[in-house]
């Protein structure tokens, strides 16, 4: 009750982007960095809760052990994302769900551009959030498999101080194993949260308008970072 709604909203959003949005992107340049850690990476056929557990503990451990990551070193961060996170995220589906109705009208090129810009947006935010990770730990909550090919895995991020942070993942079973396609932080589903702004952008200025808005946002962010 002592929480201000502003607080709630803001922390929610911050952490949405923090540990959660694992759907993060990479620059083409880093795309070909070899997945050196492939050996320790979670098995694609693992149960969804096991996959989430391994993924989140490993990512947290990497950040804790690497000061460069804590300082938001972008290239290193992108490498981490590529190796540890990207193989387990269906980014395309994430974008598609966030774009909603407009997705069907989009050409393949537009779809690609949307996914790319959305990813970039998220990886930047993720970079900022990563630098705040210190002594956080993952606590798995009891897993109740419901649907055979679409599940929610619930976890908490426990920080040395403050309340634990709810962090849930929605996964879908694909031919290549379970893939994360949405993340919930403090009660806020990420995809849902982008839906309205994407839809109103499309209503006002079409798919290209949305692509442009995303691209501009990314550029602004870049500029602000340099300043």
């Amino acid at each position: 009750m002592s929480r201000n709604p502003l607080t709630s909203a803001l922390t929610g959003l911050a952490f949405t982007l923090s540990l959660g949005v694992s759907g993060l992107a990479m620059q083409p340049t880093f795309a070909q960095v070899a997945p050196a850690a492939a050996a320790t990476a979670p098995d694609l056929n693992a149960a969804p809760d096991e996959l989430v557990r391994k993924l989140s503990t490993e990512v947290l451990a990497s950040i804790k052990s690497d000061p460069a990551l804590q300082n938001g070193d972008l290239p290193k961060l992108q490498q981490l994302v590529d190796e540890r996170i990207l193989p387990y995220v269906n980014f395309e589906k994430m974008t598609q769900l966030a774009v909603g109705r407009g997705w069907r009208q989009a050409t393949p090129e537009q779809r690609q551009a949307l996914s790319r810009e959305f990813r970039t947006l998220l990886v930047r935010t993720y970079a900022g959030a990563m630098s705040q990770v210190r002594d956080h730990q993952v606590k798995m909550l009891p897993f109740r498999p419901g649907n055979p090919d679409d599940v929610v895995v619930r976890t908490q991020i426990v920080a040395p101080r403050g309340d634990p942070i709810q962090l849930d993942y929605r996964l879908e079973k694909t031919a290549a194993g379970w893939k994360i396609y949405d993340v919930n932080v403090l009660g806020v589903w990420l995809v849902e949260n982008y839906k309205n702004s994407f839809a109103s952008e499309i209503n006002q200025s079409g798919i290209d308008g949305l692509i442009k808005a995303l691209t501009e946002r990314n550029k602004q962010f870049e500029a602000a970072k340099k300043a």
């Binding site: 929480r3 109740r144 649907n147 055979p148 679409d150 634990p164 194993g177 702004s197 109103s200 209503n203």
Partner: protein
């Protein structure tokens, strides 16, 4: 002196009122937010108040006051907040949690030195997060229109009324104390909360396409989640999905990275052959997950 103060005050007012919020043409079309035009203006005002007053003060606070002292201050306020958590858990028919909240207050106020140390959490009594807005929601009251409050920010009609009740029942309420002390205490509380969010706001700026919408939708989602203690019913579940599904599947096939795909990617662990595709209403909303 007087005039100097006046000048400062009018400068502040000027800074706060300059510029106006950008109102998109479809403002107010969202059924959850009929007052969007007002709300955007108020959100814009709040942003400016934050930028020029609250955030700088909070930044100064984190510079001047060392971290352990800030932890202590934050814990004291949270301890006071546990009183309201207890009241609301009781009103929501969750006596077990209400008594846990009361134990927390008892432990933290004594062993925890007036709440300075959160001893209760370390002995396994987790903090609840309840308020009157949630209690009303639990009783079946809908949120009403989204409603941005001055300074306090995102709310709904229901939650704004709840907030008044929160403030009234708070141990720091105005009617219990000398007004000056009360104002000082609330200001410190506000600064404490804001200071805890300094990193978060920077992230938010970069994440949102339209910050107003992002905060609004996040707020509404989060409140629903809180009312159901983490298990909200998925009502408007995937409205567009059934249509999009085939396209989605196709799309994925085309562009899926050629992963070492095991065609039967079964996990084995949970493969009950029960299919309930259209309504993945996960579970009963009753027991909160982690307690």
């Amino acid at each position: 002196m007087r005039t100097a103060l006046k000048i400062v005050a009018s400068c502040l007012m000027a800074m706060l009122s300059v510029g106006c919020a950008t109102i998109p043409p479809d403002a107010g079309k969202n059924p959850a937010d009929p007052w969007e035009v007002y709300n955007r203006q108020m959100a814009d005002f709040n942003d400016r108040a934050d930028k020029y007053v609250l955030a700088p003060v909070a930044r100064g606070y984190t510079k001047v006051v060392p971290a352990p002292a800030r932890d202590c201050i934050g814990n004291i306020f949270r301890n006071l907040g546990d009183v309201g958590n207890a009241i609301n858990n009781l009103l929501q028919g969750k006596p077990a949690q209400a008594s846990s909240d009361i134990c927390r207050v008892a432990i933290n106020t004594t062993v925890g030195l007036l709440g300075c140390f959160d001893v209760a959490t370390s002995v396994g009594l987790t903090r609840s997060n309840e308020d009157f807005g949630q209690t009303f929601g639990r009783w079946g009251v809908g949120p009403g229109p989204y409603f941005v409050l001055p300074i306090l920010g995102p709310s709904t009609v229901r939650d704004a009324i709840g907030r008044a009740a929160d403030i009234y029942t708070d141990p720091l309420a105005f009617n219990h104390w000398e007004r000056a002390y009360s104002i000082a205490a609330w200001s410190l509380r506000l600064i404490d909360v804001r200071a805890g969010l300094l990193d978060a706001t920077a992230l938010l700026e970069g994440a949102a396409l339209d910050k107003y919408q992002f905060i609004r939708d996040g707020y509404l989602q989060r409140r629903l989640n809180l009312i159901y203690d983490g298990n909200p019913p998925r009502e408007k579940e995937e409205d567009e999905e059934p249509e999009d599904k085939p396209a989605d599947k196709l799309e994925k096939e085309e562009s899926a990275p050629a992963k070492p795909a095991e065609p039967e990617g079964n996990s084995g662990a949970q493969q009950e052959p029960k299919a309930e595709k259209p309504a993945p209403q996960p579970d009963q909303p009753a027991p909160p997950p982690g307690r």
